[in-house]
Amino acid sequence: MVNILRRNNVRITGKPGGRPMMFAHGFGCDQNMWRHVAPAFEDDHQVVLFDYVGAGDSDLSAYSPGRYSSLDGYVLDVLEICAELDLADVVFVGHSVSSMIGALASIREPHRFGGLVLVGPSPRYIDDDGYVGGFTEQDIEELLDSLDSNYLGWSSAMAPVIMGNPDRPELGAELTNSFCRTDPEIAKRFARVTFMSDNRADLPKVAARSLILQCSNDVIAPVEVGQYVRDAIPDSELVLMQATGHCPNLSAPAETIAAIRAFL
């Protein structure tokens, strides 16, 4: 029997019985990405935070390359958490690749999802005939090299120490870059799954009401891509944010919260 809540390090806060809001992190970090945003919804929502298997404080032993060889494995994580908590009418807030994971989950089990907030979504990162995703396959190979170079100091022996003691930051403080640490092999696989995926054909099937939060100057998901997503999802609106970069949830939490509030 798999304990899904432990497996995905699920944290539930906010108003019991309130409308569920599920915050999902993207490639590169974990639920910490939402620390400035999620608390703002705790007064009137049941807030669900989690880490995908392989990220953050999830159960790394539950990672299997087969299950997570496509976004489907991550979609299953979301749906299994929803089933375990018996959630319905969820507002799913997904950052980066999680926007697509949320979109796929809502297609698979529409009754669970009442709304999607897609923060910096991209259905395909690699340029294609007539479509500009912003990257080439060569770029993605370079990213994998970059990940290799930056995980040289990663020690699997240290990971449990950091991950098992979130309330004792001094343990992690001696280690540089202690947030968002991931097993390098898992990070590379997730990078490949993320940046090689193509979900353009899925977007028209999304029935849930959707908000696209598009940053200015986002090199990962440019404005054109956000507009593509808006045009493809039937019931969707796009908000162009002042915030720049790819992580408005960290760089501009107030603007992010306001935009989500307006959507709700």
């Binding site: 993207g26 590169g28 170079s149 990962i220 992580c247």
Partner: protein, 386 residues
């Protein structure tokens, strides 16, 4: 401050310390817009300072892969913990070349001022090349390990026939389970083939594991296949194998059971079997489980071997089990699976078909060892249907 007012600091004034520091220095706004660079950095990447300041974002100095890394790792880390260290990226130089660097950065977020990021840039060409070498070496090692594992598994599969032959009137099943997670090749084997006037079943266990054991297993398997053409009795065939092993100076010894299966005079089948150092087979007849075979000398060690043929008649309903010591010697802590347990399972399942008996025994042995057997397990079951 006029130039003449700069206090005399040994090694140069602050401006000089900044501009000509032994590392590149770069300040950006939170969105990456470059607001200040020192001369060292400008020289390192071949730009004039005025080409960078206010005009470029640090992301635009990075190749695409590093740019993604910057946005998905570097920027979030800076926001979450206010500083990052030893980030390895490359900077694009004005001449199109690339400069491998390490970055340390701190977020400077004082109230009333726009947040800035201060980044130190350390050229790291040699170090990064060395790290890449290490990485390549590790990848090579991982690849070799994978190939060795694959080779072991492929070779192992060749020791076990994909299917046992059909013998009219006899129900036959075999099963094999490698030790642990199957990464290392073991020496268990079995084989069955048609001979003049009957069938031959061999099952054996070469001492040890790894390549040397595999070589001996191959030799034994082929020698046993070829032998019946020349030798009439199981004991003569095993003696022949013993001689072959000594002649070839094989580095490992083995135990084996050789069984000839043919029609009986008063029973549907008659077995003639010989044990070369191998533990006896089990014969289930009615409610009785008997061990059959006369213990003999293991093969590949001594020039003189004592080997004895034993005849056994098989009646309808009889079951015969051949297995390697991975069954009886399966362990759970200090407790052995043991032959008594094995006999109990045989007695309890004797009414089943050969495949069911085989599967049940394998399941019990593997479960007994918590799913990770310490030794290879090979099992062959013969059953004369009622």
């Amino acid at each position: 401050m006029a130039a003449g007012d700069v206090p005399l600091i040994p090694g140069g004034g602050f401006e000089d310390l900044y501009e000509n520091a032994p590392c590149g220095y770069l300040s950006t706004l939170a969105d990456g817009t470059i607001v200040r660079v020192n001369r060292t950095l400008a020289d390192l990447i071949g730009y004039r300072k005025d080409q960078l300041v206010g005009r470029s974002r640090v992301q635009s100095l990075l190749p695409a892969g590093d740019r993604i890394f910057y946005e998905t790792h570097f920027a979030p880390l800076l926001a979450l913990q206010a500083g990052v260290r030893e980030i390895a990226v490359e900077l694009k130089r004005a001449d199109g070349g690339r400069l491998p660097v390490l970055l340390n950065a701190v977020m400077n977020d004082e109230p009333g001022r726009p947040a800035t990021v201060r980044i130190c840039v350390f050229p790291a060409t040699g170090r990064r090349e060395y790290e890449r070498e290490l990485l390549r070496a590790r990848q090579r090692a991982e690849r070799s390990e994978m190939e060795a594992r694959e080779l072991a598994r492929t070779l192992q599969r060749s020791f076990i026939p994909p299917a046992l032959p059909e013998v009219p009137g006899l129900d036959i099943a075999g099963a094999f389970r490698p030790a642990g997670d199957g990464d290392e090749i073991g020496g268990d084997f079995y084989d069955m083939h048609e001979t003049v006037g009957g069938w031959a079943l061999t099952l054996g266990d070469v001492c040890g594991k790894g390549v040397e054991a595999a070589v001996v297993t191959s030799l034994a398997r082929y020698a046993l296949r070829a032998a019946p053409l020349r030798q009439p009795s199981p004991s003569a065939i095993l003696a022949d194998l013993n001689a072959t092993m000594l002649r070839e100076h094989t580095p490992r010894f083995l135990t084996a059971v050789y069984t000839r299966i043919g029609p009986g005079e008063t029973t549907p089948f008659r077995l003639t079997l010989c044990l070369g150092g191998h533990s006896p087979a089990f014969h289930v007849h009615g409610d009785e489980v008997r061990r059959i075979g006369v213990p003999g000398t293991m093969l590949g060690v001594l020039p003189q071997v004592r080997l004895t043929d034993v005849d056994v008649g098989l009646h309808p309903g009889d079951v015969v089990l051949f297995c390697t010591d991975g069954v009886a010697e399966g362990r759970q802590g200090t407790e052995f699976f043991g032959e008594e347990r094995l006999e109990r399972i045989l007695a309890a399942s004797r009414a089943d078909d050969a495949a069911s008996i085989c599967k049940r025994l394998m399941d019990e042995v593997v479960t007994f060892q918590a799913g990770l057997p310490r030794d290879d397990i090979a099992i062959v079951v013969l059953k004369v249907p009622d």
